[in-house]
Symmetry: C2
Subunit: 343 residues, 2 copies
DNA sequence: ATGAAAGCGCTAACAT
DNA sequence: ATGTTAGCGCTTTCAT
C-alpha cells in the first residue's frame, strides 16, 4: 500500500508508461476501445486500475469545448417550487450525463450578473435561468458567444431565446376571478419584486381579471411588494397588509412559499383563515393541501417544466439554432382557505 | 446585428493582437493589473471589451489545478431539509467564489458511485456527501487522490474524513422518550433505507430509548422500511402501517418529508391526528408548524449544517490534511400532533 | 494496430 | 514594463 498522499494524479502518460504503450493508445482505450487489440487493451486497463487512473475531464473539455455541466440560475433554491423544477432538470440532464450547477439569486440582479459570468467562464453546456428582470441583452450576448440559454419559468420577450413558461397572467386572472366570485371586493396582493417577470405577470393577470369584471383595480386591490418572495418576507408583511381601517377580506400571495409565511403570521395574530380572511397561494407545492387552512393555489407542471427546459438546452446544444418557446397552462385548485363565499 | 453565431470565442491571443501587446501582458492585466503600465492596461481593457473577451475558466483550471466548483451529493434535493442545507452551503461557497453542483441519489448506491466519479473527473474543489451507505473506502480513495471530502449530515466512521453531523441517535431517543411519556406503547417507525446512516442511527436511538425505559423494542415497535425517504413513499406506506389487529397509537416518521405523505394518507382515510394516532416527524421543516396537525419534530440547525460543511471543505482545500468532525445537537419540538397523553 | 506530434487557452518563470 | 516560452492532460490527425 503505497503512502502517496500528495502525489500528483496519474494521467494517461503514466498509464502509457506502465502498460508499455503510447499515450495515443491509452486514449484509444478510453474513447474507441474496439480499435485496440484485445491483449493491449487489457494490459492498459490493468495499468489504469493499478494506478487508480481518473480521466481528467477538465483537459478533455479544454480540447473539445463541450462541458459536462449545465448551470441553472433560479430565484431561490429553498422555495419548494424551484426544488421540484430542479429535480426535473436534473433527471433529464442525467440521461445525457450532464450535471447541474444551481445558483440562487434571491431576485438580486447583481448576483444574477455574477453567476452568468462565472458560468460562462466555466464553459457550461448551457444556462437555464429564471431572470430577475426583463433585460435579454446580456443573455443574447452570451448565447451569441456559443452558450445556449433557456429561460426557465418565464416567457421569452424575443424570438431569439428558448423559453419554458407557464401562463402567469392567466394564473393571476384565475385567482382574482375566483375571489370575486366568492364576493371579495377588498383584496390584498402580496407580491415579490415587480421587476421579476413572474411577479409582474401575475399582477397584470389580477388586474386584467378585475377590469374584466368591470371593477377598478385602484379601488379594490392593494399590492404590497416584498424585497424577495420568501416565507420570511411574507410573514413580515402581514402587519402592513392588515393595517388601516378597511383590512382586506382576501390575501393573494405570489407563491405558496410566501403564503406559508403569511399563514404563520396570521395564525400568530389569531386571525382565522378562511373565517376572517381568505388566502390564496400560487404553485401548489406538496404541502399546500395539508396546511391547517388547506390552501387554494394555482397548480403548475413543475417537474415537467424542468424536464422541458433541460430538453431544450440539450437539443439546442446539439442541433444549433432552433429556438422554441414552450408554454404550459396553469390550473386553479380551490381548497378551504378561500372556498367559502363572504357576506 | 452581426450574424456570427458559431464564431469561436476570443481568447487572450486575440485580445493581445488587437491591443498590440503580447499574451503575457494580457494575462498580467487579468491577474496582476498593478504590474502593467496604466496606458497599456487601458488599451488592453478596451480590446477586451470590444472583443467581448470572456476568460476561459477551463484552461485556467487545467493550468493550476484548482476548480471553482464544489459538488454536493445529497439524498433528495426535493426534500426541504436538504434544500435548506444546500442554501447554507451555497452561501458560504459564494463568499469564496465557488459554485455548487448538486446531485440527488435518492438513496441509490449506484447513482452515488456514478456522481462521485463524475465529480472527481470534473476536478471539483471538493465533495460534500450524504452517503447512501456506510462504506468510506471509496471516499478515502478520492480524498487520497487530492479531492477533499466532507461527510454531510453524517458522522464520520473514521478519523480520516471530515464530517458535519447532528446526533441522530439522540434525536431518535428524544422522540421515543416523548411518546412513551405520553403513554404510547404500540409505535410504528416509518423509516428510510436502513443502509442510509441517518436512518440507521435514528432507528438505533429509538430502540435505545425503548430499552432505557425497560421496554422490549420487538414488542412495542414496528418498523417499516421505505425504498426511499420521500413524501410519496410515506403516503404509500400508511395502509401497511395501519394493518393488523392492533394498529399503532403513534407513528414516528424518519423525516418531515415522509411525515407529510403519512399525514396526507391519514387525512384521506379519515384517521384523526392526533385523535386516533399521534404523528412525529424529523427535521422541523418550515411548514411543520402550519400543518393541519402541527407536527412534533426534531429540530436541526440545517442552514448552519450546510455552512459548516462548506467551511470545512474550503479550509481543507487550502490548509491540507486537518480532519475535523463537527457534531450539532438536535432538539425536540413538541406540537399538537403528539402533545396529548393517551388513555 | 500503434506511435508521434500538434495544439485547446491560459499562467508563470524567465529573459529582455 | 513587456515579451517569450514551456507546459497543464487530453484528443486527434497523420505516419508507420
Amino acid at each position: 500500500m503505497p503512502r502517496q498522499s500528495a502525489r500528483r494524479r496519474n494521467g494517461i502518460r503514466e498509464v502509457a508508461a506502465a502498460a508499455g504503450v503510447s499515450i495515443g493508445t491509452v486514449s484509444n482505450v478510453l474513447n474507441c476501445p474496439e480499435v485496440v487489440a484485445t491483449s493491449t487493451r487489457e494490459r492498459v486497463e490493468r495499468a489504469m486500475r493499478e494506478l487508480e487512473f481518473v480521466p481528467n475531464g477538465v483537459a478533455r473539455q479544454l480540447r473539445d469545448g463541450r462541458g459536462r455541466t449545465a448551470g441553472a440560475i433560479v430565484l431561490d433554491l429553498a422555495n419548494p417550487f424551484f426544488t421540484e423544477v430542479a429535480r426535473g432538470i436534473q433527471d433529464r440532464l442525467a440521461q445525457a450525463d450532464v450535471t447541474l450547477t444551481v445558483c440562487s439569486t434571491d431576485g438580486a440582479p447583481d448576483r444574477e450578473d455574477r453567476y452568468l459570468q462565472v458560468l460562462e467562464e466555466q464553459g457550461v453546456r448551457g444556462i437555464l435561468i429564471t431572470p430577475t428582470r426583463m433585460r435579454p441583452g446580456t443573455l443574447l450576448d452570451i448565447q451569441r458567444r456559443g452558450v445556449p440559454v433557456v429561460l426557465l419559468d418565464c416567457p421569452s420577450p424575443t424570438p431569439d431565446l428558448c423559453s419554458v413558461a407557464v401562463d402567469d397572467t392567466l394564473g393571476g386572472e384565475l385567482v382574482i376571478t375566483h375571489l370575486l366570485d366568492r364576493g371579495h371586493r377588498r383584496i390584498a396582493f402580496v407580491n415579490g419584486p415587480t421587476r421579476v417577470p413572474q411577479c409582474a405577470a401575475r399582477s397584470a393577470g389580477v388586474r386584467r381579471g378585475l377590469r374584466a369584471a368591470g371593477l377598478d383595480p385602484a379601488e379594490h386591490l392593494t399590492e404590497v411588494e416584498l424585497p424577495s418572495a420568501t416565507a420570511v418576507a411574507g410573514e413580515q408583511a402581514v402587519p402592513e397588509v392588515l393595517a388601516g381601517p378597511h383590512p382586506p377580506t382576501a390575501i393573494i400571495c405570489v407563491s405558496d412559499w410566501v403564503a406559508l409565511g403569511v399563514l404563520r403570521a396570521l395564525g400568530r395574530r389569531g386571525v382565522a383563515v378562511p373565517g376572517e380572511v381568505a388566502v390564496v397561494g400560487y404553485d401548489d407545492v406538496p404541502y399546500a393541501a395539508e396546511l391547517y387552512a388547506p390552501l387554494t393555489s394555482v397548480w403548475q407542471p413543475k417537474y415537467e417544466l424542468g424536464r422541458a427546459a433541460a430538453e431544450l438546452l440539450l437539443s439546442k446544444a446539439e442541433a444549433g439554432h432552433r429556438c422554441t418557446q414552450v408554454t404550459f397552462e396553469p390550473a386553479l385548485i380551490v381548497r378551504e382557505s378561500s372556498a367559502a363565499a363572504i357576506a
